[in-house]
């Protein structure tokens, strides 16, 4: 392990962590402004920094401040330890799963200016992948960690000594456990096609061939549905269901603990958008852009090639990833502000009787087709 490796990893860790949390806070703003624009409202633009309103961006700071100085309310008969532990458990998996997201290709600090002929992923003295941890079982790691998300919700509900919370956490438990299954199964098709569990290699496959959504359209839809269910947002926001069980499992939380749940949920949208981009939209891949420059082969013009320096390629690809993630966040938000909420039993039926069989069928069909093509 070289010093460079340690430094690079630490730097990436800090950068991404800061990035994610900022992103989560930004998401609060996106959520509010976007819903306002959809609903013909102005939205919150009250908070200001002097004369600047910044389209309501200052609200993030104001909210943060408010959350910090709010009373941290714990119900009298609640389990104090578990009550405090739950928000941390809820936010933990979100932060950890970010570690394996490949944000970009390998960047070589030694050869930033030259044209890269080695391909997107390579080893080198000053090279590092734009990904915190390369895990061989990347996908399994993601699913395993995401699976622990339910623990926070269940503990929060059980520790709060509130019947609404209890109902919420029961709902959360059954919903998350059911959709965990489909979440994994809907990706098996991808795994079969890409032939790897490493996320960076999945992107590489898509970089060389085509985007996952083209080969796995059904898988995309199923994963999207399961992902929204995992992040507990409308139409699958039953564990919260504010008009039924008030706010579900976190009804008894306030202050920063509440913020942890809230931010966790919003960051989860970001994580899911990242994974959707990685599995189905080619991650950092930009069409026609290879590691050494743009390769265009159009039927009329013939093959064309423009060489580009390494730094610009990496920058473009990072930007592309960001753009895809933003687009997918937008999609999730638009769905959230369009659809009503499902009912508990209907959600279960959808999970077990529709999405699960369909993802199994997807796996079977993919396997057969792959075998036939072999």
């Amino acid at each position: 392990m070289t010093t460079f490796f340690v430094v690079a990893t630490a730097a990436k860790l800090v950068l991404f962590l800061v990035g994610i949390i900022t992103c989560g806070a930004l998401m609060v703003w996106v959520e509010r402004r976007m819903s306002a624009m959809i609903q013909d409202r102005i939205g919150p633009v009250r908070a200001n920094a002097g004369p600047f309103r910044l389209w309501g961006l200052v609200h993030i700071a104001a909210d943060g401040l408010k959350m910090m100085i709010k009373e941290d309310f714990i119900p009298r008969r609640a389990d104090k330890l578990l009550h405090a532990l739950a928000p941390m458990l809820a936010i933990f998996p979100v932060l950890v799963t970010f570690a394996v997201v490949p944000f970009g290709p390998t960047i070589d600090f030694g050869h930033l200016g030259s044209v890269n002929h080695l391909g997107p992923l390579f080893e080198g003295r000053w090279a590092t992948t734009l990904q915190v941890a390369q895990v061989d079982v990347g996908l399994l790691f993601v699913l395993a960690i995401a699976g622990t998300g339910v623990v926070g919700a269940v503990i929060a509900g059980a520790a709060s000594d509130n019947r609404y919370s209890l109902l919420g956490s029961l709902r959360a438990a059954s919903q998350l456990v059911s959709y965990e299954v489909t979440l994994g199964l809907s990706l098996v098709g991808c795994v079969l096609v890409f032939g790897t569990l490493r996320l960076e290699d999945m992107v590489l496959w898509q970089h060389h061939h085509t985007w996952g959504v083209v080969v796995q359209p059904l898988g995309f839809v199923l994963f999207l549905a399961a992902a929204i269910a995992e992040s507990k947002r409308t139409p699958f926001d039953l564990p919260e269901g504010e008009s039924e069980i008030v706010a579900g499992y976190f009804v008894e939380y306030s202050g920063m603990k509440f913020a942890a749940f809230y931010l966790g949920e919003l960051m989860e949208i970001g994580v899911l958008a990242c994974f959707l981009a990685v599995f189905f939209f080619g991650g950092w891949d930009v069409p026609f852009l290879r590691a050494d420059g743009i390769h265009l082969s159009l039927p009329m013009l013939g093959a064309k090639f423009w060489a580009m320096p390494h730094w610009s390629v990496v920058l473009l690809q990072l930007g592309a990833f960001g753009l895809k993630v933003c687009g997918l966040i937008f999609l999730q938000m638009a769905i959230r502000w369009t659809l009503p909420r499902m009912r508990y039993d209907q959600l279960m039926e959808l999970g077990w009787k529709a999405i699960l069989p369909l993802s199994l069928a997807n796996v079977a069909v993919t396997a057969v087709v792959l075998h036939a093509l072999r």
């Binding site: 109902l167 039924e244 009503p340 499902m342």
Partner: protein, 400 residues
């Protein structure tokens, strides 16, 4: 192998009592449901009303006949004008009074606008409680535009206090017809958008179809009226069955449902909005000129202001009406009209003293909300929400 009975295999469990409301987002702060839950299945529920009881009927006995108007605003606060009209009609029936044609038309127009507001806010609340927040705001937007018009006419957005016994407070403002003709289509467009968002959406259909179903017989047995009753297929509408004002001269249809479930109630309301808009448009076209109130020498309406200021006879007449109240002959009367939630009845008793001796209201949603417990028994907890929403319990009217 030993035989086990089903009960022995399950752990002993007792139902959980959950107090929904009065401070619960779906209960509008005005009602409490104590539900007995087995898991999420409602084993039984106890609907407790009365959180908004303000003693309306007793209050009415304290003031003059005119002073009741501000109270009626607060019965069904989603459509105050319809209550105004209902009460005015009741007193006029007791007086044996027929208001002039223009007044009748204006009452119809304003009443139907109020009905549109009421139906849209009811549908909006129901949609919001199902999680469709966008629909809520679109419908509220549609209502808001109509509120603007009502404010221009009556001087207040909600507490209009606009009707008077034997007439109205004011005539319509000058540009009223144009305003309505331009705003109503906009509101209907917003309502159409909501239909696009919900009516064929499977999630919405799953949540509402077959939920809260009631048969016409049960509905009649509970005393249901209004859109809730019509959703079961019974085409009973006071405006058609016992026409009052000028509803006979106007062409409109009654939308009825077929299943009597939440979906039918929701769609019936939206359809009624269309019909109400039709009525408004026709009435605007037919609106006759003329006085908006009975002649002021009948001792019912306050005399013309300018004459009061300048002539002593009128001033005396004015004082008599203000100080003693309108003199209503002794007797009793039951008068009913089609309010937004159904048949709104006023049972009035006068002893000739210038004050109501008794003013009893038959609130439509009191009858409707009684059935809530029956409608939700054996269903899931989330089913209470759309069912309660589609019954449209309005605290002010139900509890009085």
């Amino acid at each position: 192998m030993e035989e086990y009975r089903e009960e022995e295999l399950t752990l002993p469990a007792e139902p959980m009592l959950l107090h929904m409301g009065p401070s619960h987002p779906a209960m509008h702060g005005t009602v409490r449901c104590v539900v007995k839950l087995d898991g999420e299945t409602v084993v039984g529920s106890d609907v407790q009303i009365g959180y908004l009881h303000r003693g309306f009927e007793k209050e009415c006995e304290w003031g003059t006949w005119t002073q009741v108007f501000p109270y009626t605003d607060r019965l069904n606060y989603a459509s105050p004008l319809l209550n105004n009209i209902g009460y005015a009609l009741a007193v006029e029936k007791l007086l044996g009074l027929q208001v002039p044609a223009r007044c009748q038309y204006i009452r119809v127009i304003l009443g139907e606008l109020a009905r549109i507001c009421d139906h849209s806010v009811c549908s909006a609340a129901m949609a919001m409680e199902l999680g469709a927040f966008t629909v809520f705001l679109y419908l509220v937007k549609a209502r808001e535009w109509i509120f603007d018009i009502l404010e221009e006419v009556t001087g207040a957005r909600v507490t209009h206090a606009f009707c008077r016994i034997g007439g109205l407070r004011w005539d319509l403002p000058e540009n009223f017809a144009d305003r309505v003709r331009s705003v109503l289509p906009k509101s209907l467009e917003a309502i159409h958008e909501c239909e696009q968002l919900l009516l064929r959406n499977r999630i919405f259909m799953d949540r509402t179809m077959g939920v809260g179903t009631i048969t016409p017989e049960r509905a009649l047995a509970w005393g249901w009226t209004g859109p809730c009753l019509r959703s079961t297929g019974v085409a009973y509408d006071v405006r058609k069955a016992h026409p009052y004002l000028v509803y006979e001269d106007l062409d409109f249809d009654i939308p009825v449902g077929s299943q009597g479930d939440n979906y039918d109630r929701f769609v019936c309301r939206l359809e009624e909005i269309r019909q109400s808009a039709r009525i408004v448009m026709q009435a605007l076209d037919k609106l006759p000129d003329g006085p908006i109130a009975v002649p002021d020498d009948t001792g019912i309406l306050l005399p013309q202001k300018l004459e009061t200021y300048t002539t002593i006879e009128r001033t005396i007449q004015h004082f008599k009406i203000i100080m003693e109240g309108i003199q209503v002959p002794p007797g009793e009367v039951y008068s009913y009209s089609e309010a937004a939630n159904g048949e709104l009845g006023f049972y009035l008793v006068s002893n000739g003293s210038g004050k109501p001796w008794k003013c009893r209201v038959r609130p439509p949603c009191f009858a409707n909300v009684q059935a809530l417990s029956e409608l939700t028994r054996g269903r899931l907890l989330p089913d209470i929400i759309p069912t309660f929403g589609s019954i449209n319990m309005i605290g002010g009217e139900c509890d009085r």
